[in-house]
Symmetry: C2
Subunit: 347 residues, 2 copies
Amino acid sequence: VSGAGAGVSSELRSANAHSRGCAQTRAIQEALDTLRGNVKSLVVSGGIPRISSKSLTSLKFYREYVAKNQPVIITGCLNEWPASKLWSMDYLSKILGEEKVTIDFTPDGRGDSLTPDGKTFVVPATRKVRFRDFAHILRSPKPNRVAYLQHQNSNFSKEFKILHSHIKPLRFAEEAFSAPPDAVNIWVGDQRSVSSLHRDPYENIYCVIRGSKTFTLLPPSDAPYLAEQEFPLAELEMRRHEGGTRDCHWRINPTGQKVRWIPVDPDFPKRIRADAKCLRNARPDLISPLRCTVDAGEVLYLPSSWFHQVSQTTLTIAVNFWYDMEFGMRWALLEYLEHSTKIGSAD
Amino acid sequence: VSGAGAGVSSELRSANAHSRGCAQTRAIQEALDTLRGNVKSLVVSGGIPRISSKSLTSLKFYREYVAKNQPVIITGCLNEWPASKLWSMDYLSKILGEEKVTIDFTPDGRGDSLTPDGKTFVVPATRKVRFRDFAHILRSPKPNRVAYLQHQNSNFSKEFKILHSHIKPLRFAEEAFSAPPDAVNIWVGDQRSVSSLHRDPYENIYCVIRGSKTFTLLPPSDAPYLAEQEFPLAELEMRRHEGGTRDCHWRINPTGQKVRWIPVDPDFPKRIRADAKCLRNARPDLISPLRCTVDAGEVLYLPSSWFHQVSQTTLTIAVNFWYDMEFGMRWALLEYLEHSTKIGSAD
């Protein structure tokens, strides 16, 4: 039991000189060891299965995956979507050409992400851009400007009305969740854009239409090792270079607000300086990541509360559906796990 | 936050002089307070709903109750059972008359239960008895002999083959669990028999055919307050009185084995002496019990891992189905809760 949960209790040690021998701390460490073993053998060891939508009833989907909080890739269910046949950047530029859509801009593809010094959380600069111009920006990469169509607040429902008939609700999901989605989002970006590790309070049905998405998934029980904490929130501001070249330059504008975020990068652990203060309680060596690549035509069921980091290796177009998650016994027990291992944190 | 979780940490205090100020202990107490509040508002506050089987699809049953780990009473689904029309003690005596069935005998109706001094766990004396004689025993109560047909190890499947066609699997449950039951049990007893607080690693579909059953249910998250621990296991032995009267007398025979059990009685907190050593870590004041009476013709879905204590107010005949439970994320988180709050216990 020696050091297995040591990271979790390091703030405790500094906070309380008596705590080194505290029986409760040792009990927590042993309980965490057991939890990791159980989650590995019951949830993670089977990997992320790929199943055909043909034999997938809504009951089976709910029982085997949603109720178990178990990710799965479902094949064959986008064949009937007009989007699968029609969508390409050329086609979308033709259809949407003059329509203005919300685009997130960053210098490095990392929107909603911590700066490499681990001190600040930055949100992208957003601009309303004609879709045709967005397509041109993607075709003409610049070293310090990355565009990503990913604004999320149901951006597909709001800004892409002309394309609504190109996608269809997935029967097994609609029946299983017994309600329409809370939000439908569209994502268009290339290999330079990534989404840093986070989780959403939604059941997520993620449909890849062109290209492919690579997900790193962490089970909710990994929360004690990720050192989620508050960071100052800043906004990226994009400006043309004053010297008259067409390069951008960037400012980071503090907002005075705070946001909770995770400093651990499960794919590139060295992105944030290893001695950064925010990593003090992180134990990335104890996480249980699952990785998968979801290709065009495939759907990932990404269960609520799972941590995920997302990237792509080529130009990728995707649509996702967020359905309400269940706040019941499992959620309450997960909250207990997080509260019981969070000692002396800011909130 | 002061004393709310104090019972949980009392062994800790005696085990470790430094622990009084341990930040980890305070964090656990706060986390338990939050868990109790969340479970009350999300799970317990709605009580145990009564719903009609008419509108109950297997998907709805799984989504709204099984996946949520939420008890529910279902009405109207036993109407088609021949058992509902036919079964009475007279009828069963006629049909089963000479058949021998396994009966549990106790002096006080408390089989599988702790003695009032809280020092020993006793199992009933079992006898193979002609059903007709069992019916006679129920009709002719003696002060120190209680008979209960409840042997559980799929006793309906094994000892009541002649009645198998009188019950039918419940469609919503068979479809939802996607497998036949692991065990089918029959229960026949009167108001003197009770089942002390315990939980089963099964999804339980409990069907009352005659009489009524009263359940006290505790959510799995109440585990930290119940002081489950090891007790010496003893067997009750029933003997005729040597003086030649027809009264029984009883011996308690130690087995040398141990068994884990719960000393808390949520309905009669004074049954075990309040100063008994086994109650030292119990906090019955912090539990969140739900109570319900299931009448003839009704079915209780009793979710896996819920603690339950069961009694009846009159002669009652019931059949229950045990289905495999899911060992996944929720179970792993529940184990974490129990391990993280169990300090210095025997195992």
